[in-house]
Symmetry: C2
Subunit: 230 residues, 2 copies
DNA sequence: ACAAAAAAGAGAGCACCGCTCTTGCATTGG
DNA sequence: CCAATGCAAGAGCGGTGCTCTCTTTTTTGT
C-alpha cells in the first residue's frame, strides 16, 4: 500500500512536490531564465546542494515543469471541451482553441516554456510527447466526429503531399480523410502562431480586440480544415 | 565628413561591430541564454568591463542583435520577393513565406530571439518596430497589388470585427478592404506558427516532408486572405 | 598650443549562479 | 541491533552580470 511505504518515501514525494511548486512560483514570477535552484532551495529553507537529491540538474527540474505545463494546458482544453461536448463541432473546436488561449494568458511563462524558444542544448525527452499531444488529440477527435456526422468537407490536397498525408493518417489520424489530416496539422500549428503572437507582444498596436479577433481566426481555421458551418 | 570625424569615432564603430559579430557568433553557436558578455570580451581580447562602454547591459546587446535579426529576415524576404516581383501574387506570397522559413532554418537562434519567448523582464523598445514590420509590409503590398489587379476575393468578416478592421485599414493597410486586412493579420501570425512549430521541434514525428507541407500550408494561407488562384 | 574635458581600457571586487564532493546524521530493512 | 541507505549541510570551483576606481589617450575650447 502506498500508506505503508514509509515516512521517507512520503517525505520524498512531498519535498519533490514542494520544489516543483516553488519552482513554478518563480517561473510564473520571473520566467524560466531566472529560475534559480539556489533561490528555490533558499525559499524552501534548504541548502542548494540538497535539491540535487531530487533533481539531478536544473534542466531536469525544467523538464518536470514542462511536462506539468503540457498536462495543465491539456487538461484545461479537455475540461473546456467536455463542457460543450454535445454542441456542434464548430463550437467544440472554438472551445478548445479558446481554452488554449485562456490558459496561455493565465500562465504566460509556462506557455513560453513549452511553445517558446527551446532551452538551448535541451532536448525534450520522449516522456513529454503524450502530454504534449493532448490538445492535438482533441482537435483530431472533433474532426472525426464531424466526419462521422457527415459535416466534414474534404479540402483539396496537392499531389506531392499524398504520401505524407497517408502516413499522417496511419500514424495518428485514424479514419480521417488524408486531406483533412494535413489541414489539421497546419491548423494546429497556426493556432499556436496566433496565441504566441498575442502573448509575445507581436500584436501590440496591431490587434486591439484580441478576443474577437481570436474567435474570428479560430473559426477560419476550423473552416479551413473542413468543419461545416453551424 | 565622416572620414574626418576622428580616429576615436571610427574605432568605436569598428569595436561595436566586432562585439556584435562575436555576440552573433556565440548566439548562433549556443543560443541567447548562453550569450555571455565575459566570453565575448575574452574572445575579443578585452576585459569584460570594457564592453560596458559600448553596451550598457547584456540586454542592450541583445536588443541590438534583435534589431539586426529583424532586419536580416526582412532583407531576406525582400530579396526573395524582388526576384519574383513580376510573377503572380500567389507566387510572390509563397516566395516571401519561404524566404522567412529559409532564413529561420539558417538562423534558428536568431529566429528564436525575435519570435520565441521574450527575454523575461525585457520589453522591446520602439526602435524594433520598423525592422519587425518589414515582412508584414511585403505581405500587405502583395495583397494590395492583387486587389489592384482585381485578383483579390474579399473574405467574410464577422460584424463584431468591423470597427477593428477599419482601424487596421487606417493604421497600416491603406486601401485594402477591411476584411482582407484582418485576414492578413491572421495569416501573418499563422505563418510564424508554422515556422515556429517546425523549428522548435513540434513537428517531430508529425511532419516528414517539411518543404512540401510548408508550401501547401502557405498556399492555404494565401487563399484564405483572398489571393486568387494562379 | 596647451590645458581642460571626455572617452576608453584595465583591474579588483561584489553578489550571484550551477554543480561537485565530502562529511556527518537519521531512517530503514535484514 | 546494526549495517546499508537516504538525505541535508557545508565548502569550494569556475563561471556570470555589473560597478567602481584608476590610468591613459584622444578630443575640444580658448
Amino acid at each position: 500500500m502506498s500508506t505503508t511505504q514509509g515516512a521517507r518515501a512520503r517525505a520524498r514525494i512531498e519535498v519533490t512536490a514542494a520544489i516543483k511548486d516553488e519552482a513554478r512560483r518563480q517561473l510564473a514570477a520571473e520566467g524560466a531564465a531566472k529560475l534559480s535552484l539556489r533561490a528555490v532551495a533558499r525559499e524552501l529553507g534548504m541548502v542548494s546542494s540538497a535539491l540535487y537529491r531530487y533533481f539531478p540538474s536544473r534542466d531536469d527540474l525544467l523538464t518536470a515543469l514542462i511536462i506539468d505545463a503540457y498536462d495543465s494546458v491539456g487538461e484545461a482544453a479537455e475540461t473546456a471541451h467536455a463542457e460543450v461536448a454535445d454542441a456542434g463541432v464548430l463550437l467544440r473546436w472554438t472551445a478548445v482553441c479558446e481554452a488554449v488561449r485562456g490558459w496561455a494568458l493565465a500562465h504566460p511563462h509556462e506557455y513560453a516554456l513549452i511553445y517558446g524558444s527551446p532551452v538551448p542544448g535541451y532536448v525534450a525527452p520522449e516522456t513529454t510527447v503524450p502530454p504534449a499531444a493532448r490538445v492535438a488529440l482533441l482537435l483530431i477527435g472533433i474532426a472525426r466526429d464531424a466526419q462521422r456526422a457527415g459535416m466534414l468537407a474534404e479540402p483539396p490536397l496537392p499531389a506531392d503531399l499524398h504520401a505524407e498525408a497517408e502516413r499522417m493518417v496511419a500514424d495518428f489520424a485514424g479514419d480521417l480523410p488524408p486531406a483533412v489530416a494535413v489541414a489539421l496539422v497546419a491548423a494546429w500549428a497556426e493556432l499556436y502562431g496566433l496565441v504566441s503572437f498575442e502573448l509575445f507582444g507581436q500584436f501590440r498596436r496591431v490587434v486591439e480586440d484580441r478576443e474577437a479577433f481570436f474567435r474570428y481566426a479560430v473559426r477560419r481555421l476550423a473552416l479551413g480544415v473542413g468543419l461545416a458551418d453551424v
